[in-house]
Symmetry: C2
Subunit: 234 residues, 2 copies
């Protein structure tokens, strides 16, 4: 089966967590809006489709249309060896992914604290204050939680000796924070040696390495979740 991924064509954004899972799995997929344009994507979001997604990304898998990043990964995980098949392990990996999801929204809020419908330039002062709090309180809380999980099971992967889609998402988090906040992240990395090592090992995996070097990987830019704004990286 050839999957169809629907996501905004110009950014990594939330679609990237799905792309990384599809690439690691070596799955066959079309990145629809990049290959065929936006109209195909917008059509799928009409109520008349029966189960319209609220927002991209969504994945078409045969007749199924699955929305919400973490839900897509829940579906893909057990099919492609990126999560346990048994209920307890499946719920645990999904729970971790939902915590990544919360963190991703907080990352987005650093440059859009007044909401997604105003421009960054119109919320610069609040963005500075939110970013301060983010690095003082939230980054340590989230990343040290994941670091603690890695440490407590010997440092291999988040949930033990097997890679899951949650590990791939943490790779993206480290990569993204390095892009958006190079100075702050450089200073912070000493607190999370396990996560940095996990990031490096994932970057070196054959399928991920090939993906990152391909033009399927969109470059970071200032329309996505992770944005490099000098005013926010002191």
């Amino acid at each position: 089966m050839r999957y169809e991924l629907y996501y905004w064509p110009g950014i990594q954004g939330r679609g990237e967590y799905v792309r990384l899972a599809l690439e690691e799995a070596g799955a066959d997929y079309a990145d629809v809006a990049r290959e065929r344009g936006m109209a195909a994507m917008m059509k799928m979001m009409e109520v008349s489709s029966g189960t319209p997604p609220f927002a991209p990304p969504f994945l078409k898998a045969g007749k199924l249309v699955i929305g919400q990043t973490a839900n897509i990964l829940l579906y893909l995980g057990s099919r492609h060896g990126l999560a346990p098949k048994a209920e307890a392990g499946k719920l645990w990996v999904h729970q971790l992914q939902l915590t990544v999801t919360d963190f991703v929204l907080e990352i987005h809020d650093t440059h859009h604290p007044l909401g997604p419908s105003l421009y960054y330039e119109d919320q610069l002062q609040p963005a500075k204050r939110r970013t301060e709090e983010f690095w003082k309180e939230r980054v340590p809380k989230y990343l040290e939680y994941f670091e603690g999980l890695l440490e407590s099971n010997g440092g291999f992967y988040l949930t033990g000796r097997r890679l899951t889609y949650a590990d791939l998402s943490l790779f993206q988090i480290v990569e993204g924070l390095r892009y958006a906040f190079p100075k702050r992240m450089k200073a912070f990395e000493r607190n999370i040696p396990g996560l940095v090592d996990l990031h490096d090992r994932i970057a070196a995996r054959a399928n991920i390495k090939a993906y990152l070097a391909s033009d399927r990987r969109i470059a970071f830019n200032e329309d996505g979740i992770f944005r490099r704004y000098k005013a926010l990286d002191l």
Copy 2:
């Protein structure tokens, strides 16, 4: 099996979505921190527990400890007739719940746009601006999406003729917005007659009605997600 729900004892918060599902299902559960104090909850959050939740709420179900509100509902849904058992329907209801989850975070951000670690009083001006955008852009986008789903399948429940946990969560959204923004919500309700009707039918269900009248239902207050701040309700 007697479930154990772990959540902050003084607020409805995110735990309320789980409580409503447990109550509708007539499930046997302990609300641990309310009944036995906070220490029992904090102990479960230590890394040494193996699968420590990042934050409350979490549910102990036999040996399983499940964190993240939507993940708990995913687990409970198929066991208590609050979601389809087949994969397609299960994923669809979960997808809707994850969209509710996103909305809940945006509701919280109206009074905490600069982040959860600062006081409301220290972010009053940003809160006013975020709340304006929230009611102008985000409430219509979210609630009219759900309204459209209700309409498109005849007005019974979100996914068709059977109640799911996502319907119970929408009851709480309507209830909460009425509490937090009585004026704004009163004006907005004319746009969402289907959701208001859904809310009323859920409030009249035997188990929910008994729950709402009991002291197990914590009253809304200004420590939860939905807060009544006059400055934000113009």
